[in-house]
């Protein structure tokens, strides 16, 4: 925010998340943070470090270890006019609060006939790669994208980590923000002229003509790497970053796939019943005759995430397999 005019500001994804929270806390006295170890400890991924000292205990609230209780409290606070931002340590722990998120946050506006809005933001870490095994490594954002009433954001870039929160807080509905654990240490530049982003549209992160690689979150950078590998072989891949899993920006997906006529969907989540299945089916329903090749997916292997590094790596989408899948579509062997 205090960047010298005209120069890019370099920061980590973690810092971008924190600056977003600071901006929100400074801008609106109704905004407050709740979660496990977010205050004195500074957050399990250190996103909220220093915010307690700056904003005090009333606004940076350490909660007991009960996801159901503090998500429920967030829903109540949002109904009563506050703008709570709840942090859940990791997506696996959000399952403890599934009842509150699905049965309350996502339904109360509808069941009250529009008498209540739930302007609640829930942030959580998602994804694998940190060797923390089968209870801390999964990607359930696709599940949440199944729920009417929720908006699902998956910021992958520094810019989205920095600015998506502003849009989320302006949404009168519950918004879930999924931050991939492998992105927190990633560094990138914020362009000084950008101070907001939309929370509705997919973005083409790399333009190409031969095949559309559709992905989001932590898989974006592996997919861009795969596109670089393909470029050396003369295959021009387009990379579409979904950014928002619900509501899906199908227009952007259809536009890209209609041009390239081939599509690989890359999703760290399990294949069966996944967001990648939904995307593939929408393409099949709406633009089937634009396709020159079958739809393909690269997904997480359908196992509880193994702990050993070589097994975990084998269970996650990697650049090599993404490139191989795309290559097979463009140049069938």
């Amino acid at each position: 925010m205090n960047a010298p005019q005209g120069s890019a500001l370099r920061m980590t994804y973690r810092e971008a998340c924190k600056q977003a929270l600071r901006q929100a806390l400074l801008a609106d006295p109704h905004v407050f943070l709740m979660g496990e170890d977010i205050g004195r400890y500074g957050g399990c991924y250190a996103v909220t470090k220093g915010l307690l000292e700056e904003f005090g205990e009333e606004r940076i609230r350490d909660t007991p270890l009960s996801e159901s209780a503090f998500v429920g409290a967030g829903i109540g606070a949002a109904m009563a006019g506050m703008r709570p931002i709840v942090e859940i340590m990791t997506v696996n722990f959000s399952l403890v609060a599934l009842d509150q998120i699905v049965n309350n946050a996502a339904t109360i506006p509808y069941m009250s006939g529009g008498q209540f809005a739930i302007p609640l933001v829930i942030r959580m870490a998602t994804g694998g790669g940190r060797r923390v095994a089968a209870q801390h490594s999964h990607s359930f954002e696709g599940w949440y994208a199944h729920i009417p009433g929720l908006r699902i954001l998956t910021p992958a870039t520094i810019e989205d980590a920095r600015f998506m929160l502003i849009g989320a807080l302006q949404d009168p509905n519950p918004v879930l923000i999924f931050e991939h654990v492998m992105l927190y240490n990633m560094e990138g530049d914020l362009r000084p002229e950008v101070n907001e982003v939309d929370i509705g549209l997919a973005k083409v992160r790399r333009a190409g003509r031969d095949v559309s690689l559709v992905t989001y979150g932590g898989s974006l950078f592996k997919t861009l790497q795969a596109a670089d590998m393909l470029a050396t072989e003369g295959i021009d891949a387009e990379v579409v970053d979904l950014r928002v899993l619900r509501p899906l920006d199908t227009k952007a997906i259809f536009e890209s796939v209609s041009r390239t006529r081939r599509c690989v969907i890359v999703d760290e989540g399990w294949r069966s019943g996944s967001i990648s299945a939904e995307i593939g089916m929408r393409i099949a329903e709406e633009i089937f005759f634009e396709l020159d090749a079958p739809l393909r997916r690269v997904c997480g292997r359908e196992v509880p995430m193994p702990y050993a590094p070589h097994l975990e790596d084998a269970c996650l989408p990697q650049a090599e397999i993404i490139a191989a899948t795309a290559r097979e579509l463009v140049r069938p062997s």
Partner: protein, 169 residues
């Protein structure tokens, strides 16, 4: 528990050795974690060994299911107020307590207290304790050597146990 427990020499040695084994096993885990041979999370239990050793005494050998947070422990309906010397996990900088507080509690740890009590009552000799430590260190060294000599599980086996073929006997 109304029954009076009779602590004979062999039983006391057994309890003390079990606590020493846990303590020294965990110290080895820290070493291996720092050498990046153990990855992810590591939650230590030092200072609380008396709980697991006591509970284990009350359980039959086939009643135990342990996860990554229980290094030779099991659960029961007991409230044991304890003090853990190490941080919650290896990522925890312990901003919530002082070094002096931890040091004060270390002096009241279960191993040092039990050992001191046994020594004062002349129920155990210092050389017995050092022999125990040597034995435990050898056990741990053998366990580490076994692990180091292990072969990585094949990627082709990664789906094993996602679902079971049958109920184990």
């Amino acid at each position: 528990m109304t029954q009076k427990v009779n602590l004979d020499h062999a039983h006391m040695r057994h309890l003390l050795k079990a606590m020493i084994r846990i303590r020294r096993f965990e110290a080895k885990c820290v070493e291996l974690y720092q050498a990046r041979k153990i990855l992810g999370f590591l939650y230590l239990y030092d200072g609380e060994e008396a709980v697991s050793v006591g509970v284990m005494e009350a359980l039959s050998p086939d009643a135990i299911v342990a996860t990554y947070r229980e290094h030779g422990q099991a659960l029961a309906f007991l409230e044991c107020q304890t003090y853990r010397f190490s941080a919650h996990s290896m990522f925890d900088p312990q901003l919530y307590r002082s070094k002096e507080e931890v040091e004060a509690w270390r002096k009241k740890g279960p191993i040092v207290r039990f050992q001191t009590c046994l020594g004062a009552s002349r129920l155990i000799k210092p050389e017995e304790v050092s022999a125990m430590e040597t034995e435990v260190d050898a056990e741990i060294a053998a366990a580490v050597a076994f692990a180091e000599a292990g072969v990585l599980e094949a990627v082709s086996e990664v789906e094993r146990f996602v679902t079971m073929e049958e109920v184990p006997a």
